[in-house]
Symmetry: C2
Subunit: 348 residues, 2 copies
Amino acid sequence: MTTVHAYAAPSADAPLAPSTIERRELGPLDVRIDIKYCGICHSDIHFTRGEWGPQEYPATPGHEIVGVVAEVGADVTRHAVGDRVGVGCMVNSCRDCENCAAGEEQYCLKGSTLTYGSKDRDGTITKGGYSTGVVVVEDFVVKVPEGISLQEAAPLLCAGITTYSPLRHWGAGPGKKVAVVGLGGLGHMAVKLAVAMGAEVTVLSQSLSKKDDGLRLGAKDYFATSDKQTFKTLRNHFDLIINTVSAKIDINALLGTLTLNGTIVNVGAPPEPLEIGVFNLFGNRRSFAGSSIGGIRETQEMLDFCAEHGIGADIELIEGKQINEAWERVLASDVRYRFVIDTATLTA
Amino acid sequence: MTTVHAYAAPSADAPLAPSTIERRELGPLDVRIDIKYCGICHSDIHFTRGEWGPQEYPATPGHEIVGVVAEVGADVTRHAVGDRVGVGCMVNSCRDCENCAAGEEQYCLKGSTLTYGSKDRDGTITKGGYSTGVVVVEDFVVKVPEGISLQEAAPLLCAGITTYSPLRHWGAGPGKKVAVVGLGGLGHMAVKLAVAMGAEVTVLSQSLSKKDDGLRLGAKDYFATSDKQTFKTLRNHFDLIINTVSAKIDINALLGTLTLNGTIVNVGAPPEPLEIGVFNLFGNRRSFAGSSIGGIRETQEMLDFCAEHGIGADIELIEGKQINEAWERVLASDVRYRFVIDTATLTA
């Protein structure tokens, strides 16, 4: 066992505080990573606050992990000491079911092992990346290519893959009109990625307050969903809509903006059910779908794609002692567009 | 103008009664059809009762029309006097938008002209197939191949194409597991068609009361949705679910039975919105979609497919004076599986 520095929440409603956690002995297929940076995802807050079910405390969140390989197990072949690597939302899966066999470990039929708050194979509860080190089995560690800074790469491990995967699966590319709903951590990545794939991208946001940003990121258009004219102007328009909003918004109005065979894919995770009027699906044979992160192979593909296109996240780098304030700002949507923790500052 | 016999509703809440209606003069591209049979669709009732919006009265429904060509306009090339033909839910569309150009006239962006209760190009309101004759532009008339009786072909024009189209679009065939929810007019056609396409078909019905029928139609399995064990047994099982139920059922429970990339397609049209828990879409990257009838080209393809596979609807043939009673029985789900009116009996 090795002890690492971390920030942890002692209970669902207490602030995070400096702490230490134990990482397991290195197994033959394990990689020990010195964590350099970890992004802050809205999920970290939901999870730690017990909003997605009861958790074990103290809890350390964080699943946008990047760092450098410090040590490898005897049988490791995929990574070497000194490699720049990343770990996303999963640290293991059953490796045996048909979805794992298809390289879609995020849909593991026995449930993938999440990076934090999940029961690990040895029965312990996983602890996340708000820490200075972690031990992960090599198959769930990806390489961060040269050409992306580690700190800008961190949010790619969740916000990046979560938007990249549905864009690829539903065929975003030249000749396709893609809308991104919500310009936050996920939304700003969806815009960058869809633009790099060659799609014509439109941002749909509650207001026009971030319009300059949206256009700078490469969007061709930017509309306010609070303006009813928007839905008339955009009727039967989009091939694909990536909805990043984790709140109960009007999906039926969005459905009307889809063209023949168009799909809305929710990557936002509102706790309440969403109401769908079936007649809105009948027109243009529309679909409403969901997508959850991406598989390991696709995560590597996404990182390589980002390096090739010079894409990183827009980040605000913070120290450990700013985490609680950063969480408040995430809840207030007051970040452009992702907080990233410099883990060298976690000791205080 | 020619006068034909018909049954018509004088108002939203009055029974249908014998009547006559006028059909337009034959234009150069029109076909006059002597109607032999017309199926009774649940939509006829919703429409005529004003449940899908106000109608003009007297109203004559019916969009599962089969008959024989009696006369053709000067420029008609696709049909000849004596041909066995059918007319489904549409009698025209704009012919100009991208969806019409793609042969998907049912998704015409300017709105297709429905067979009844729809404003026709000449400003009159269309009247349906509970009548002895109709005039339709040749492009919206399909051929009924030899090998299907006219009376068993009638329901194919709505119930047949409405289920055939999504089965084809979402790839039902060998190696695919397809569920059909609800064993009524649409459901029994969905089972026959999916079986003929080579899929492994399961019926999901509220109870097991029609199990013998389901298996006779070719289903491999039959489960009651009222039994909670059903949803455990079938977890992550189906590639495609065709939901024919026009009521607010538990879509979230059904979503759990879909395997990776599986889709529920609603062809049933409940008036209330359906509630979708987004987390049910995240698992296995599931979709909830809608589908509306099918295009003219695909309707012909469906009829040819049915002739090739010896498929017709299971029907109960009735006379005009039984229509009101038949409607009551449709509302009570008391028909196996489609009423078809012998239009020779409409005069009394």
